[in-house]
Amino acid sequence: MTKKRMWALVATLAVTLAFPAAGVSKAHGGTLNLIAWEGYTYKQWVNPFEKQSGCTVHSKFAGSSDEMVTLMRSGGGSQYDMVSASGDASLRLIYGHDVQAVDPSKIPDFKNFGKAFQSPPNNTVDGKHYGISLQWGPNTLLYNTKVVKPAPTSWSAIYSPKYKGKVTVPDNPIQIADAALYLMKHSPSLKITDPYELNSTQFKAATDLLRKQKPLIKKYWALASDEIDLFKNGDAVIGASWPYQTNTLKADKAPVKDIVPSEGATGWLDTWMVSAHTKNLDCAYKWLAYISTPKVQAEQAIYFGETPVNSKACPIMDKLSKGSCAQYHANAPLEYFKQIHFWKTPIADCGNGKKNCMDYTKWQQAWTQLKG
């Protein structure tokens, strides 16, 4: 979720404002109370939805995944109908029985989704779909093309002392998964199969790697704008990033490039989920169907700087902004997604019958300890 961190801080300083209910109001169609990332319910596509469905949309913007979880549980869980949950929140909502399973056959565009997004493990449990995938983005390796030579091809660039003091990575416990992904390829003896399912040995190896990396780091960035500043001012020349920063820096004519290195990358995938206690299931399905259509998918992708899950959105993206389809990898082949490991909440259940994996609380504690 690109803007999550950026807004997390802002949310502590300012009260999150509810999006004013857009113009049209038809009593007979019902209402939808949505919890969304800021920008996910923009009037450009919400207004037409209200007109065509007769459902009125009210949005509440959340500043973090945890705020989303808290909001979904407020008022006994019946206050909000839907949530645009990221992969690090969705499993918590599913196992907390806050959201209900949905039937993808009622979503006409579901068949046009990239194969990786129809039943991803962060919203599909035991074959049941707890929501419909929306948009995604990779966590890329960003570097300054003038300083970093030869061009990097591997994540090892941020673990080697070559660019000591000029490296930056996100200030987020989920970053442990990036270290695990690196070890998955470089230390096969650890037998890591999923960077989010780590037993204590694997977890220790990942956090040890991060501890060794720490002296190389200039700053753990908390806001996307921090990383942009670091690259602009020459304080960092290489680091882990989102496409959003790359695009912003390129727009400023900064000499940067981002890649998905040979080991692959982690990524985020957002899902519209439906509350287990909603009284507006009809409107909820209408919204799921509408938000999955190619035109709306393309509009949101361009507005927000992320990639639609509907592969038919590609030509519309190019029409809205030339070359944007390829820029955001919206037309990437299935092979591309095999190397992207989408965020999911680390839980004790390892997925192989064993329950000895480190859960998210442990990740968070380890991250606090890493930063010291």
């Binding site: 196992y95 987020n172 020459g234 010291g372």
Partner: protein, 307 residues
């Protein structure tokens, strides 16, 4: 409201009688006047201020279900036990207190000569200008000032540019604890200057003349007359600089480096990343205790004598 109840005030003709009776009742029963004056602020203080602290303290004895993030209302000392045994939390608390103390010392050293000049040397006009200069930064947003420092300190920033021009090697100050110390000292300086100025201004000139008449040279007068009399002001200012630094969490995020976490940052992460409000509350008790000890010491040094 208090002024309107005072019988000495000019009153409207029609309401005169009733007001006079009320005023008389308040005059006869002094406690009633005191009570009606104090009740609203005391009530607000109890509800808004103390209640929040009590809620914080109580929730620090609860825990959170690690997976569903729901609060378990079961009394336990687990949070405090974890804080007591966790080396990381000791380091974070110690770092917070150390930097707060360092910032306070720096501000006191800068503020004293500045306030002395303002109070006892500068002309009336210069003093007004200096006052404006001291207060001017407070008109700009805290965030804007912190970001401005980032522009000064970063590797292509004004500091390194100036050093290069002077033929000196560049300083790697950006995103370190040194940077935090500089920025905190800058941001809280006005809160030290003003109380020190107030205490210096109050020293009667006759004391200094008497000291001179008795043969004390400049430094001795400063050490034995001015400093002891200004100390309560310095201590009062230090309460501001110390507590403001102690509770901050934004500057460490924006200016700090890889090992710059403050107590506030750990609390923020506990609440925002793992929804562990009880643990955050438990850690937040630490600065409250530190401030309690500090205030007791400040009282011993006479910081509140002038109140």
């Amino acid at each position: 409201m208090a002024a309107g109840l005072d019988p000495a005030q000019g009153l409207e003709e029609g309401r005169r009688g009733a007001r006079r009776r009320l005023g008389g009742a308040l005059w006869r029963r002094r406690w009633l006047k005191g009570f009606s004056l104090l009740a609203p602020p005391v009530l607000a203080f109890l509800v808004v201020y103390v209640a929040a602290l009590v809620a914080l303290f109580i929730s620090s004895f609860w825990t959170v279900d690690p997976f569903t993030s729901e609060t378990i209302h079961h009394w336990t000392l687990d949070n405090f036990r974890e804080l007591w045994h966790g080396a990381t939390y000791h380091r974070v608390a110690l770092r917070t207190v150390e930097i707060a103390a360092l910032v306070t010392l720096t501000d006191a050293l800068i503020a004293f000569p500045f306030a002395y000049f303002m109070a006892r040397v500068a002309s009336r006009r210069t003093r007004a200008v200096l006052f404006v200069l001291v207060l001017l930064p407070l008109w700009a947003s805290y965030l804007a000032r912190v970001y401005a420092w980032r522009l000064i300190l970063n590797s292509d920033g004004i500091l390194n540019w100036s050093l290069h021009k002077a033929g000196l090697p560049s300083a790697n100050v950006a995103y370190t604890n040194t940077a935090m110390w500089i920025v905190f000292s800058y941001i809280w300086l006005p809160f030290m200057i003003l109380p020190v100025y107030a205490s210096l201004e109050r020293i009667p000139h006759s004391y200094i003349e008497a000291s001179r008449d008795l043969g004390a040279k400049g430094f001795r007068t400063l050490r034995t007359v001015i400093l002891p009399l200004a100390l309560p002001g310095v201590v009062a200012g230090s309460i501001f600089t110390f507590s403001l630094t102690l509770g901050d969490y934004i500057t460490p995020v924006l200016i700090g480096g890889t090992s710059s976490q403050f107590i506030g940052n750990v609390v923020y992460d506990a609440v925002n990343q793992s929804s562990n409000l009880p643990f955050g509350a438990a850690f937040a008790v630490v600065p409250v205790l530190v401030m309690g000890v500090y205030l007791v010491l400040a009282r011993r040094l006479g910081a509140f004598d002038a109140l």
